[in-house]
């Protein structure tokens, strides 16, 4: 492909007791691309992104970020490495305002009395929040508004903007369009494209293949813990992806024979 690989997963295996959640999964993420990670419930998508974002640790396999091997012991380490994750329901604190949410966990401080006391730079954070949102074309009337009073779309925009602002390398979006009104989905998908234009690589998990096709450059399909296919968006269509997800034709799924055929096809 000639594109620069930013993240490389090699032979990732994760077991929860007897359950094999991920079985020898290898996957590359290229710079400046949107990769849609799709699969049925229990296919291992969530486990995979949690491994990438440091929330859980694989039993076997390696992760390379820009060619260098990384071992994330916690989400904080992944964040430091420039990988931001927007989880479905863990993105924002309802009772905090927009600016405080954007800067939560990485607040800007000013030192007084020779560094003995550090105070928050509220004004600065509010100004920066405006800039961050403006860059991505998000309009929030009032940056001091508690996010619980914003619409689902606005909240999701803020969560994505937060990831984009601080995820220097990669942002991972877990079902970003799941709880949104139809009208708002378009905004979020636009936002994903904008983030890509900003030079960020994006992994997006979604059950909605139409949405995935609107933004993704490439698809990786998981089924019961195995990667069963990778397709460029331009070379495939919803039918083929659905077949990969379900294993064979929609009707005849399940048994080994038919699965293999599709995988190798």
């Amino acid at each position: 492909m000639g594109k620069e690989v930013i993240l490389s997963l090699k032979n990732i295996t994760k077991k929860f007791g007897a359950l094999v959640a991920l079985d020898d999964v290898s996957l590359d993420l290229y710079k400046n691309e949107v990769l849609a990670l799709v699969g049925d419930n229990g296919a291992g998508k969530s486990t995979l992104i949690k491994i990438i974002s440091g929330a859980i640790i694989q039993n076997r396999g390696e992760i390379y970020l820009k060619g260098r091997k990384v071992d994330f012991a916690s989400p904080i380490e992944a964040k430091r490495a420039g990988i931001e994750t927007v989880y479905q329901d863990l993105a924002l604190v309802d009772s905090l305002n927009v600016a405080n949410n954007l800067f939560l966990g990485r607040e800007e401080k000013v030192s007084v009395l020779g560094g003995t006391l550090k105070f928050l730079r509220h004004r600065y954070m509010e100004k920066r929040s405006k800039e961050i949102l403006d860059t991505l074309g998000i309009t929030i009337p009032n940056i001091r508004e508690q996010v619980k009073f914003l619409s689902g779309g606005q909240r999701q925009s803020i969560a994505v903007a937060k990831a984009a602002a601080f995820g220097k390398n990669i942002i991972i979006l877990d079902e970003p369009t799941a709880a949104l009104a139809v009208k708002e989905v378009g905004h979020i998908l636009e936002l994903v494209k904008k983030c890509k234009e900003e030079g960020i690589s994006i992994i997006i998990i979604t059950h909605n293949l139409e949405h995935a096709f609107m933004v993704a450059d490439r698809f990786a399909v998981l089924r019961v813990g195995k990667k069963v296919g990778e397709r460029l968006a331009e070379d495939t269509d919803i039918d083929e992806i659905v077949k990969l997800i379900t294993g064979g034709t929609l009707v005849k799924n399940g048994k080994d024979g038919s699965e293999r055929k599709i995988v190798n096809a």
Partner: protein
């Protein structure tokens, strides 16, 4: 929810109202405070606001307020502490007991404060370490700490006539600075420090985040347990200090000291706009809530209505304020 959503987009009028609403809670409680002042001015024919009465009122405000601001911070962080009355009594007991043994009262105060931090810290440790509801844990320690007090005192009061030997100590805790009661100054100091901590420091941001949505805070890399522990410990210290202040003023420790403070302090927080589910509340609101509670108590007594009415009226006020707050919240959404 989504209908509301689309309606709100681009509706700029929402913005100005919404941004002011944060303050509306405080305006209500401030209005309530002023209203009570006016009502009681007339019903007591002005006696209520004679300098001597005001002094008593503000000392009472300070003693309850120091606990109320601390418990407000803890409630914002999403936890409870019912044991503050017992902690404040323990602080008072230790100060009195060590003083009785010949220890300098300033040193005794230091021991009390450390004990307050330790007792609050124990509440916090059990709560976060075993992931248990602080309501239950501190219900147990409220009983347990009080039990420890009885074990130590066997119910016998302990004199604390520090005014005779160390008038400076007495003055520092309960004296007057010209016309201002010094306890009130302590409350102002505590309030300013907690406001700085909560609203102008990173720690405060984390307190609001932890109480607002624990798991999100965790995902953002915030140390939830540490944040909560610090809140428990600060509250323990403030409670202990309030207890020492009270025993200095009363000049004698009784094993019942501080009973019922926890619920009054929580009431002050709630009247001041703090939400019990965490994430929302202000220190200033807690101070105003405290003033309301104390005004009701003294106002009713001095109006000649009688002390028996106090709890009834206070209960009604809490319900009314909570309903008002709720209505405001609903209006917004």
């Amino acid at each position: 929810m989504n209908d509301r959503t689309t309606k709100n987009i681009g509706n700029l009028n929402n913005k100005s109202i919404a941004s002011r609403i944060g303050a509306i809670r405080e305006i209500i409680i401030f209005g309530l405070t002023v209203g009570l002042f006016i009502i009681f001015y007339f019903t007591t024919r002005g006696i209520m606001f004679a300098p001597a009465t005001l002094r008593i009122i503000f000392v009472a405000v300070a003693e309850l307020g120091l606990v109320a601001i601390g418990i407000t911070m803890l409630i914002i962080a999403g936890e409870f502490d019912l044991s503050v009355g017992s902690i404040s009594a323990m602080g008072a007991l230790l100060a009195a007991r060590f003083y009785q043994m010949g220890v300098n009262p300033f040193l005794a105060l230091g021991i009390s404060l450390i004990a307050g931090i330790a007792l609050g810290g124990f509440n916090g440790f059990i709560t976060v370490r075993f992931k248990l509801p602080s309501f239950i844990i501190t219900l147990a320690t409220m009983i347990g700490y009080r039990g420890l007090i009885y074990v130590i005192t066997e119910g016998v009061p302990i004199g604390f006539r520090v005014i005779d030997t160390h008038p400076g100590f007495h003055r520092l805790l309960t004296g007057m600075l010209t016309v201002i009661p010094i306890p009130l100054i302590w409350l102002v100091v505590g309030t300013v420090i907690l406001i700085l901590l909560l609203n102008f420091r990173r720690f405060g941001n984390h307190v609001y985040a932890v109480g607002g949505h624990k798991e999100t805070a965790r995902a953002m890399g915030i140390n939830i347990n540490k944040t909560k522990m610090i809140c428990f410990m600060i509250l323990g210290m403030l409670s202990s200090f309030a207890g020492v202040m009270r025993v200095t003023r009363i000049r004698s420790f009784h094993s019942l000291q501080g009973e019922g403070i926890a619920l009054l302090a929580i009431a002050a927080a709630v009247i001041g706009g703090t939400l019990l589910q965490g994430g929302v509340g202000t220190i200033l609101g807690a101070v105003l809530g405290t003033i309301v509670i104390v005004l009701i108590e003294y106002g009713l007594i001095m109006s000649g209505v009688g002390a028996y009415m106090y709890n009834l009226v206070l209960g009604a006020v809490i319900i009314i304020v909570v309903i008002l707050n709720n209505v405001i919240e609903q209006r917004r959404t």
